[in-house]
Subunit: 302 residues, 4 copies
Amino acid sequence: MPVTPDQQAEIDASRATTQPTLRATAPGMEKHLYTAHEVLDHGLIRVIDYMGDDSAITQAARVSYGKGTKAVTNDEGLIRYLMRHWHSTPFEMCEIKLHVKLPVFVARQWIRHRTANVNEYSARYSILDREFYIPAPENLNAQSVINNQGRGEVLEGEEAQRVLDILRDDSTRAYDNYESMMSDEGQQGLARELARMNLPANIYTQWYWKVDLHNLFHFLRLRADPHAQYEIRVYADAICEIVKDWVPYAYKAFEDYRLGGTQLSGPGLEVLRRMLKGEKVDQESSGMSAREWRELMGVIEG
Amino acid sequence: MPVTPDQQAEIDASRATTQPTLRATAPGMEKHLYTAHEVLDHGLIRVIDYMGDDSAITQAARVSYGKGTKAVTNDEGLIRYLMRHWHSTPFEMCEIKLHVKLPVFVARQWIRHRTANVNEYSARYSILDREFYIPAPENLNAQSVINNQGRGEVLEGEEAQRVLDILRDDSTRAYDNYESMMSDEGQQGLARELARMNLPANIYTQWYWKVDLHNLFHFLRLRADPHAQYEIRVYADAICEIVKDWVPYAYKAFEDYRLGGTQLSGPGLEVLRRMLKGEKVDQESSGMSAREWRELMGVIEG
Amino acid sequence: MPVTPDQQAEIDASRATTQPTLRATAPGMEKHLYTAHEVLDHGLIRVIDYMGDDSAITQAARVSYGKGTKAVTNDEGLIRYLMRHWHSTPFEMCEIKLHVKLPVFVARQWIRHRTANVNEYSARYSILDREFYIPAPENLNAQSVINNQGRGEVLEGEEAQRVLDILRDDSTRAYDNYESMMSDEGQQGLARELARMNLPANIYTQWYWKVDLHNLFHFLRLRADPHAQYEIRVYADAICEIVKDWVPYAYKAFEDYRLGGTQLSGPGLEVLRRMLKGEKVDQESSGMSAREWRELMGVIEG
Amino acid sequence: MPVTPDQQAEIDASRATTQPTLRATAPGMEKHLYTAHEVLDHGLIRVIDYMGDDSAITQAARVSYGKGTKAVTNDEGLIRYLMRHWHSTPFEMCEIKLHVKLPVFVARQWIRHRTANVNEYSARYSILDREFYIPAPENLNAQSVINNQGRGEVLEGEEAQRVLDILRDDSTRAYDNYESMMSDEGQQGLARELARMNLPANIYTQWYWKVDLHNLFHFLRLRADPHAQYEIRVYADAICEIVKDWVPYAYKAFEDYRLGGTQLSGPGLEVLRRMLKGEKVDQESSGMSAREWRELMGVIEG
């Protein structure tokens, strides 16, 4: 349960009344506002605010005086053209602000995306809650044997149980000790900025994260990718669902040209052209390394 | 007249109907939305969209679940504290999108502020309008004799007239030739991406400019400063008036701590402390250079 | 002639003596240092400084204590892997600083790349030189009839001559008037920050531009592209030649995976797979729009 | 001991031979290159590379063709002027690349400075070393009773011992379990990307961090400040010593105008002016809040 009854009451209050505005609104997005979408065992994503809609993209691309739409079909065609040709600035004219609750080790990956605004809950100033990510059994995987940076089979039986016990016990002990070091009953009480160093990376933190649509798409392309770590991918997937409701044309273009697309190298393109002419090409005659060849075959075979 | 009747009709249509939204709205800002604020002889600033209000700043600072306000006085105090102590991330949680029409030489200064999103009207793709900035006589100044980078006295009499004639004539001729080179009547017609090179820097361009409140304050501190060039300062001043209506607490804190404040050097602070103890200090006994001393005296005397 | 004898003497002096350093040096880059590579009629590119080499990329990727090389072949393989999989941070560990002299209309495109450091010659503070870009006759093209944002055929005969005359005459007059407005002989003399507004966009400006290798590659991918305007492409091409000598492995990977590569959409990839299986696909059966289909055929046919 | 004998050997090899270069070199910086400066109990800072020196700042400010120095005194005066008047772009023309080993909770603060390039050791790909930050007894402080975000008195006696025991024991157990979960002896072995979540925030990580001088000064102003947490301040202090040897004029200007200086608010400045005229001002007659008044008195009294 990522949200307490008090928090839910605050959310409900926020959703209770609308205000009139002259700004562009996206009906599909209004329904998401403030609502907590659950992710992992205690995590969440909430839309706090947004700026713009599909029309705002074309309006900016045209630097227009009015709302920018001529015909809906024009909007979609222009958005697809802009995406296909890497015209990124019109997509930067939409912005989203999210409230995210996530494990620290996920937050550390997430923050690598620098072109965003972040305001994180401060463990220097406040005391963190006792909430830790413990993977569901089906997400407890062995180290991959073919990829240094990935997972293999799901752990089984006793081993899985041992891992879950360790994660739970170590989290519990770390948090008990965190509290007891800070306690001022019968002692001075350790500074919060020091006590926090005892907490493991599966503890949950929270932040407000604000980003423009172009940079969000870049984040989603990398993090909704099958090679991304599962624990960040589920956040990316949840955001994809939200963006789809917010800017449906832009999201569809993103899906066609980025998420579902692929980058072909010059030599890879050459191989394809030869194949399409009916030539039989193998790794040796391609001039590519074994690894590059394997990756190209993966793309062709889908 | 920066806006044509057609453009005004588009603006009026945009302002005609409101939509309900759950987002934070700033009533003082709604009245500015889309309206063209005139700047210089043909320039303008229009608010296209905004995200957040004063409460959004404190809500982010507290990473809260609800709208973030407890008491209004708390909000103001917290905002002043954040500004005073350079906590910039909560201010980044507000965003504004402007439509700006401005002379190219002003645009070239403006774009030096890199942390913003820009979509400019493309003279590669489209034909620019025949609109040039010609200074009003009271803004036609001689080169400063004490500051390489500034203006001195207002030009007088015939000299002023000569300058105005030159600016008008050269603009007119440049634009006539721009049009005639591109014309496809009886000739091929030069490419727009080439023809534009004949246009002088006082021609007007337009862009959509989107920036967060923290970076906007940085822009305003530098560009609403008396040392900024007049032609960009009037844009900064117009934006100040808008921001004051949008986030009144944040703007007041900005005014007190940034715009109206000053940076004292370590040696300058030392001089002040000696003076406050009743000591008589002059440049020599201060250990400061003549220029630094003069600047310090300027600050003290106001 | 982009460089005066005095400037050449300064360049020669800078190249006269070496200093010993412990830093990574790239022999192929040392030969470029300070030397003016001519671009367009008065433009130039000079390498002022650089940081890192191919090994610096792999050293950072491995966060290593030593110089990072094990075997040269490892370095190349790792660099290609990093490029192929969009691991951009190791490429950011190399940096280059260039002195560029370029027409203002080119500078205005260039500056759109925000992730770089720029220090431009100030026409507010100093007087610009009388140097204007006048295209060579073979680069004087008509507007494209199929692409709003491009050039078509080379202009011919009298029309070409007329354009060249206009560009020369208007530049000359604009500069004469720029000088005469600022002159303090027998008059006050207009402020430089105002006088500059009379100068057309083909005047040359100069700046120091510093950028990391990842962002430079992004710049080069867009600006060395056949769709980029000729006048910026020649700068990008000149930089490509320099980067090739600086970080040969990284440049080769960039050439294979970015410059010479292509992005395939999800639907485009589907079409290719069907074709490779021997199926006959046309636009209608592809489900793609006419424009997207045409672009895909362009990629396949090369 | 932050460095193993093998690592020291790699460092020594890197420092063994110099190469000739035409680039600007800073003799004071060459002596730091690669050398490990110890910070905290297992941390370090090493200079991996640098670009530019004091002259490079003025050379860029002048966009000059030669090395940019006329007289040394000119360089220093210009640098101080640029710093005093917030001309930041010339300082961006110097760049530094550091290898830093630091506890994760320090890394999480550090990464908030977004305008830098970072390549971190990946715990998804590799196994972290068994190295944890355990504070020295004199840096083990109680929570401040006046500042939510700070430390008070040093912990004493048994309490201090209890805290140290907890930090040591929990780190040891967490690491033992980290290893045992990943072990593939008699079991599948948990994926590294999952096992790392059991590690506490006092474990050491490492990264290459590259930043320009302007943004480095911004980092140092915030992190070498007395209000910064001790564990990041010691890194900032160590970097200050290095920068002082690299660009002595720029560092002195930074010290005088930023580190040792202060920001006065408009109302604060008004109070000062009244005091200097001999007027007696107290909080009430100042119109400032109690907190702002206390902070102003702190500045005045030093």
